[in-house]
Symmetry: C2
Subunit: 396 residues, 2 copies
Amino acid sequence: MRCGGGRGGSGAGSVAVVRVNTTVPYDVHVGPGVLGEAGRILSAAGASPANRAGRSSGAGRSHVIVTNPTVAAHWLDGLEAGLGGQRPLPDRHTAKIGDGERYKTLETASCLYDFLIDRRCSRDTVILSLGGGVVSDVAGFVAATYMRGVPVVHFPTTLLAQVDASVGGKVAVDHPRGKNLIGAFHQPRAVVCDVAVLATLTEDVFREGLAEAAKTALISGEDMLTQMETNTSSLARRDPAALRELVTACVRVKAGLVEQDEHDTGPRMALNLGHTFGHAIEAADGFETVRHGAAVSVGMCVAARLAELCAAAPPALTLRTERLLSGLGLPVRLSQLPGALRASDITPHLRQDKKRLDGKQRYVLARGPGDITVASGIAENLVHAALTWAEGDDRR
Amino acid sequence: MRCGGGRGGSGAGSVAVVRVNTTVPYDVHVGPGVLGEAGRILSAAGASPANRAGRSSGAGRSHVIVTNPTVAAHWLDGLEAGLGGQRPLPDRHTAKIGDGERYKTLETASCLYDFLIDRRCSRDTVILSLGGGVVSDVAGFVAATYMRGVPVVHFPTTLLAQVDASVGGKVAVDHPRGKNLIGAFHQPRAVVCDVAVLATLTEDVFREGLAEAAKTALISGEDMLTQMETNTSSLARRDPAALRELVTACVRVKAGLVEQDEHDTGPRMALNLGHTFGHAIEAADGFETVRHGAAVSVGMCVAARLAELCAAAPPALTLRTERLLSGLGLPVRLSQLPGALRASDITPHLRQDKKRLDGKQRYVLARGPGDITVASGIAENLVHAALTWAEGDDRR
């Protein structure tokens, strides 16, 4: 990971660039208004050593933008304007998928394959994802598998996607019985995080990105955690400078973990803090009404309580986790989620988690800020006790 | 690529081992009766450096055998006996898919995802494909994408799969409008080619493997081509020693090309000799009656004729190609295929080939044995002339 300045300066309008040194390295560009530089960024990414020798640069390739109607209404013109400076104009198509997690399916991927084949897209077609995590996951999965792989560039438009989904190469679609069960590792050619687009998000959607950011801060350590605790109010009012700093810090942490562990077999598991419980909550809800970030927020509290019950972490860390998440307007108990889920609703869904190994359930736990461990063989009664605790309304 | 002896000796019963040095290296085991050594081979592959540190060896993992009813009737017991020597017996399941190219679809993959989820398979499940190219392609695609990738070991039971489909990591399913349009690169953990299983193949199915072997010989050079021309009759009567030599030679050539070019962007394209036309023939036929090997056989002749028309190769090479293929009992003209296809039926299907780059059609051509080139910008009238020539019955 290398972090460099972009257009210079440290003001709210400047662009931060974080290099992710995976097998094929790529840059993440973070800043307000950076969508307008899409053309320049694509050209640079196409001209990188990762580009196939002797082939045309990104500028000359056909582009397929994958987005949804909601995002397109706000930002498609902006992306097209950003791309439009290129001469000659590339062959460009736009595919819109349904808005929401329920469209993150093999059926949607199948429609996109049809779209690409209808337009005679070749292996040099570049897919541009413009949207949140559903769009980048589905578009990324299609990019990973269309003709055994075409390049993808992500333009994440939610805070959740900017801090998490679009960086690291994990792409997937859901199965009726579990999230992300069908997927691949497919690193993007570049990622463009325009924090100005976050202004149009609804409060719920914005906040769920803060849940992933809080998770990242807890993984990162005392410095980032304190910084986030201090900035709660400027983040809540979506101050562009605060958001740029937050997104950049999250991308740096994620890049560092992804570089150590591109295929998610070791250190990168830290990023799943709160996610084993979070995914099970979403599954128990039938992926209907509980937002991913809200589920992760409660999942982080359950994981904190479980660490406490295992004597792996002090009660103070559970309290600190809850306070940060509550301060960001996020739920910390099952009773705060729609559907009034109980512990017994959630337990059966823990078994389908991808982190199960040799039939054993594993849990990612924080022993302290920056001190993450993966525990297996935890007694089921402790897991049940942590979930039952989260049912209650006894917030400290 | 490293070639080593297996159980020693050079008799018909010995096993040849070819190492394929991809990012994660693996061995291809070739010999009559090697299916009986499945357990030993899996243990060795599981204990290789590629195995995830600190995890169980291949022997202790759950296994899912993917096969079809036809193959299962002949060889499932043999594979299970080969695996059965392991203690403790692994958790083992068998999934049967339909027999034939028409089952090489996203729908079949989707059924296999359900099968794996129903049996709570984790990321440490090992998929064993037992069958021809359809089975190894679908099982390999599912292995590439289930939980973002689980290990796969191929036990190819057709000559086509032994010499081509199971080595090199290309896995895919078909789309109604083109073959292999949805896929990935996913190297197997090991490949086990038991040439004794080839005895039960029908004549048509056996012969189509000879077409791919002839292609490999032409790519390899004068030595292998002459060897194959000399051995035509012992190959036709399926002599085990001749088959072991042929499969080993083909795997060596393929391993060398795959090592140079794991993701099929350069030298590996040589393996597509005859395939641009072959795939278009299959597509024109609607993937109904023309076998892949038969289509490739005619496709190789069309490619040879095209090279001749472009003055890239002498007429003698076209003649030599036709004679070898005819001698192996393979078709060399469109009129010898079911369906009486014409040039004009085939041309529209050339456009959807994956080797198209920036909208230009490319052709893999042999200038001589071992001298392969990729040509783009060939005039359409020459392509049409080569296809029209192949309509006729004017074999020299």
